[in-house]
Structure formats: C-alpha cells, structure tokens
C-alpha cells in the first residue's frame, strides 16, 4: 500500500537519504529504528510530502510523488488524506477545544457536516480514553493526553495508514505507556502504521523492523532478528 523506491534526499550537499526503498502492506506495523540523525524522521516526512526529495519515488494508495523542488498540491492533498501523521511534539491546535481539534480534519479537509464529524470525534476520544476532556483546551492536558488527542485527530479522517514520528520521545515513561497502549490497540485492530521509535518494547511487536543508519536502511526483517543485534 505504501512503497518507497530508491529515495534520495540532500540537505544542501549533505545526503540525508541515500536510495531508500521499502514497502508496507495493509495491516502491517512497520518500525523504523536506529540512531538519531539516521534519516528515520526525514523518511517519514517524505512519505506524506512534508519534505521534497531529489530523486526516487513515493507511492501511497495510488498517489505518486516524484523527486523535484515541489509536489503537485492536489496529489499531495489526496495522499495526505490516505496517510495520517502523529508528531513528536503533538502539534495540537491551541485555539481549539479537544473536540474541535479532533473534528478539524473531517470539517476542514473532508468538508463533513458538523453532526457527523462530532459523532466520529466523540467515538475516537472515547477510544483513546479522553471522552470527558472533549471541551478542555489542549494546554490544560498532560503531554500523554495531548498525544492521545493527536492520535484521535489523525484517525478522524480515516487514513489508510498512520505515520508516527517518535510519538513518545517527548513524554515521561508513565505517559509514554498510555500512548503506547493506544498504539498497540490500533495495531491489534489492523491499522497500517509506520512508527519511528526508540521504544524497543513496541518495536518488538511490529511486523517488520527496518534499521536505519546514515540515510540508508541497513537491515530489515522480523523484530526478533533485527532487534537482538541492534541491542
């Protein structure tokens, strides 16, 4: 469903991704692990078009991105509706309530009616365990709660796949646990995900693990195989 072929990206003269290829099938949980600066987050950002790249290609559910200085904005929008993203720093919209945050995608991207969007949003908040926080402001939530809201917000547009960019790195262990529990729950439900993570417990339950170093995928395989050596 997601395929990356021979992706190469430079920051100036520095090569950040060097011919990366990978495929993600429906229902798979893919974990990207490896040292900081290895290009994991950049790869994720290239997949949903937040970054451009010089050569190679990305295809998500039939939407293709190619190398070049810009992407076609229509293709980008369609692609992004099929692949959601959860950020390390949550990036909730501070001027909206929790409920409005979760509804923002359906309302402003999918142009759904308010009633429909609200029903979905409340269900999702329930699923991440924050039903009673619907009217709160993001600033009044803990980091873990904020990240769970961010996950609900991403799921609200019903993406085929979700990209998680170090979703627990900004959280203390207790809060990280809450977030990981939600993610495991999603994975169990068959949600396609690519997760950049340093959390080995989570990576162990992934379908495939890719180890990235210096802009290249140096090893791929089942978690047991890859993680043993990585440790």
């Amino acid at each position: 469903m997601i395929s990356v072929t021979n992706l190469t990206k430079f920051h100036g003269s520095q090569r950040v991704l060097n011919g990366v290829s990978l495929t993600v099938n429906r229902g798979e949980v893919t974990a990207l692990v490896g040292p900081s600066g290895g290009g994991k987050s950049t790869l994720l950002r290239c997949i949903n078009g937040l970054e451009t790249f010089q050569s190679g290609g990305v295809e998500v559910a039939g939407n293709k991105l190619a190398g070049g200085p810009t992407h076609d904005s229509r293709v980008l929008q369609k692609l992004r509706l099929s692949v959601g993203m959860v950020f390390q720093q949550f990036h909730l919209f501070p001027h909206m309530s929790v409920l409005d945050n979760v509804m923002s995608g359906p309302l402003y991207a999918l142009k759904q009616k308010r009633g429909e969007a609200e029903a979905t949003a409340r269900k999702l908040l329930d699923r991440v365990g924050l039903k009673e926080k619907a009217d709160a402001r993001p600033a009044n939530l803990s980091g873990g709660q904020q990240q769970r809201v961010a996950i609900a917000r991403t799921l609200a547009v019903k993406p085929l796949a979700v990209l998680f960019d170090e979703p627990t790195s900004a959280l203390d262990p207790q809060m990280a646990k809450e977030v990981l529990a939600v993610m495991r729950d999603l994975a169990a439900d068959g949600q396609t995900m690519i997760v950049v993570t340093h959390d080995m417990d989570f990576a162990e339950r992934a379908t495939v693990v890719h180890l990235m170093q210096a802009g290249e995928i140096v090893k791929s395989g089942p978690p047991a195989e890859i993680l043993k050596e990585h440790r």
Binding site: F93, G105, R137, A139
Partner: protein, 514 residues
Amino acid sequence: MKKLPSCRRFALALLLLSLPALATAQEKKPLRWGTDPTGGAPYIYRDKTGEYTGFEFELAEYLAEKLDRKSVLVEGDWANLPQQLKKPADVENGVDIILNGYELRKDLAAKYGVTRPYYVYRLTLMASKESDTTTWDDLPGKSVGVLGGSAAHRYVKKRYGRTVDLKTNPDVANVMKLVNDRRMDATVQDSPAATYFLSEYGGLKGVGEPVQAGDLPGYYVIYYRKSDVELGKALDGALSAGLRDGTFKKIYSQKKYDLWNADQEALLPTLDKPWPPENLPAEESPWPDLIEELLLSAGMTVFLAVTSFPLAMAIGLTVALGRVYGVRLVSIPLGIYVEVIRGTPLLLQLFFLYYVIPEMLLNTERDWFIWLAKEISPLRAGILGLAINYSAYEAENYRAGLLAIPKGQMEAALALGMSRRTAIRRVVVPQAWRIVIPPVTNDFIALFKDTAACSILFVTELTRKYNELFNFNRDLVIELAFLTAGLYLAMSYPLALLARRLERRLAGGKGGHP
C-alpha cells in the same frame, strides 16, 4: 465740513516737507484703532489705487481729527481684536479702540468701555437671482452661508435650528461668490456688506426685508479700555457731533457705500438718552452650542475611525498573507507597498488622494476615470487615506503574528489533508490574530487620534471643529482646548481599557497565563 482724509494727509505731508517748523504736528498722540481689513468692503478695503478706504476708515480718520490725534491703523484678526484691549496700547499691535462692525453686546460691554453707536445694521438675506428663494420662510432645507460667530450666525441658528444647512466661513467675499455661483443657496449678512455685494455681484438678489438681529436694533459701536474714561467721553462727543452735523450722513451717503437710511435717522433722538441702554439683553451662554458642535464633530471622529480601521485591517491582513505565503512576484511588490506607505507622512497621503490622484484621473479624459475622480469626496478620501496608511502598520503586525506561529501547526494541518489555504484560514490566522490583538488595538487608538489629519480635507471632525470654534471664541480658548482634549481622552481611554481586557481574556484562553 472736513476735507477728504486722503487729501488731508497729502496736504499734511506737503506741509511737513516744506515747513520743518511744523514738525510738532507729528508728535500728536496717536489714536491706534484696531480693525481687520480682510473683513472687506464696505467697512475697510483698498480702492483701485491701493489706498485704504471704507466707511469705517473714513470714520476713524474723522474721529482722530476730532480728538486731535494721529490715526494709526492696527491690523488684527476680527475675532481676536477685543483681546488686544487687555494689553497696553503702546505694545506692538496695541490698540486704543477697536472699530470694525462690532455690535453692542452685553458680554463685551461688561469688559470694555463702549461708545454710542455709529451705525445701525440689519441682517439681509441674499440668494442667487435665479434661485427659488423669495422669502425668509423659504430657507428651511437650503444651505446658508454665514460669517462664523457673527450675529447672522446666531440669528439663523436661533430662527431655523437644524432645518437649514448652516455653513460657516470666515471670508465674506468668498461666501458671496459661492452664492453668486449657485454653489450655496443663500447667505445672511450684515446690511452694509449686503448692500455693497449686491451692487458688486450681478447674480445676487436681496430676499425679503432686512431684519433686526435681536431685541435691540443692531448697533455698531466702538470699544475701548474701561480705564480710558476720558477717551470714551471724547469719542461719544465726536460721534454725537458727527451724527448731528451731517458728517456721517455725508460719509454714508456716498455712492460707493449707499448706507444712509431711516435706521440712521432714528439714531438722532437716542443721542439725548443715557448710553448704553440699561438692561441690555443677556447674551446666551455659548456653551450649549459649543458643546453640541463638539459632540457632533466627535461623532465624525468616531465615524472616521470605525470605518477606516476595519478597512486597514482587511488590507493589512491581505498584504501580510501575500508577503508571508506569496510567491516572490507577489511578496516583493507588497514589501515595497509597506515601506512606501510607512515611509511617507499621512498628511501627504491624504493630499495625494484628494488632490493629486483626482487631478491625474481628470487628465486622462476617460469617462470612467473622470467619474471616479468626481466620486472622491473629502470624507471618502479621508477614510481611504487613513485605511491605506494604517494598512501598512497592520500588515507588519500580522506578518509578525503569522511568523510567530510554530511551523508544526501548519504541518499538522497539512498532514490532516487540509489545503494550504484552509490551513492558513483555520489554523494559522486565528492563532496569529490572538498574538496581534494588543498591537492592533494600540494602532486603533493611534488611528483614532490621527483622524485629526482629515481636518486638512475639510472633514469637520473634532480637531477641525475645535479650530473653527476657537477662531470665533478667543476668550474661551483654554476651556475649548481642555474640552477637546478631554473628548479625545474620553473616547480613547475606554478603548485602552477594552484592549487590556481583551488581552487578558485571550491570554487566559490560551491557557498559558491566567
């Protein structure tokens, strides 16, 4: 009978030149008389040879000679001249008397010595010969020009209230011309000026009968210092003599003035009665009128501010969005716009909008442009000028606000599948708006006061009204200044309070600081 003044002067000059022994005549004590020659004919004006003439000029020459003093003309501003009597006579622009169509008024008579009248005026209504104004009762609904602060001004206001469109103007000749050219419907003027201009401008007609301005006949009198008792007596003596022996009749009857009439004949019997008459009708307090006028013009100030500022905000936001998110072809010209507008004075921009641009449009000789040029009224130019000027500052505020929003906000919105446009509208701008509310409110308060610049376009807002009232009420200068400043403060301070509240509420809403 006396010789004509100019002849007398000429003769005197000859004598002085040929007979130095007579130089003592030059040491006559001067009679410094204050007048405003811009008030014009027939009171005092320059004839074709450039020499001063006018019935009051001739009167002053007569009085000086009668008092055996040397006539010295001191020019001043009509409304300001009475104040000159508070200073000594021998300072620069000091005067002994003021003689320039000042009527007998209780407030002036209380402060200064007042002579017997030298002329009785009425108020004459004039309109264009082609106008449908044929009686005084036709005035409601018409535009009527008057000399601001004059008896005519008070009379029209009292008789017609707000049913007429009262236009005050400091220049009599200008008002006459406007009526003559049918750009104003009518004017009410003192009868001497009316008589003169009716013969001067072919397009004018007198309407109805001239009326008496108040309860008493309209007496022109001379004011002097209360302490100059002797001078007052001498002036009264000279005036009575001039009236009795026919000197005044001779001066006033000259064809160029044509001012002698039954009202002047009726002055003779009053010479035996005490003067000034007791129980002068009290002057009405000027304050109700002044306050009403100031409040109305404060309304215009508010109108200018509340119409121009939203426009400035809209233009500013558009410019800021273009600068932050636009391609270079858009952002560079917008950057230049901001710098040009910020770098030139508001006054100049207003001049440009009202004078230069219409001129340029007219020169194109294209119908549409000519139509546009004629649509630029002072009020529209004022609103647009303020809006454009402030749009540059608002653009910078918004630009700073937009740039202050973390990049992640835009990325999160895009990742949800929003278009860039929607992300800007729903996510970035609302957050930027919260950041810029304090500086924007500040700018609104600043713009509120900058509306005063529109006074140069003849928009009657608070500052222009203050200037106008100040000119006709010199003795209330300080009170008026404080009142005007107070009005500005009374309007802008609540705005400042509102700004602070908004700021606090928004900070609270953001959850950061209560």
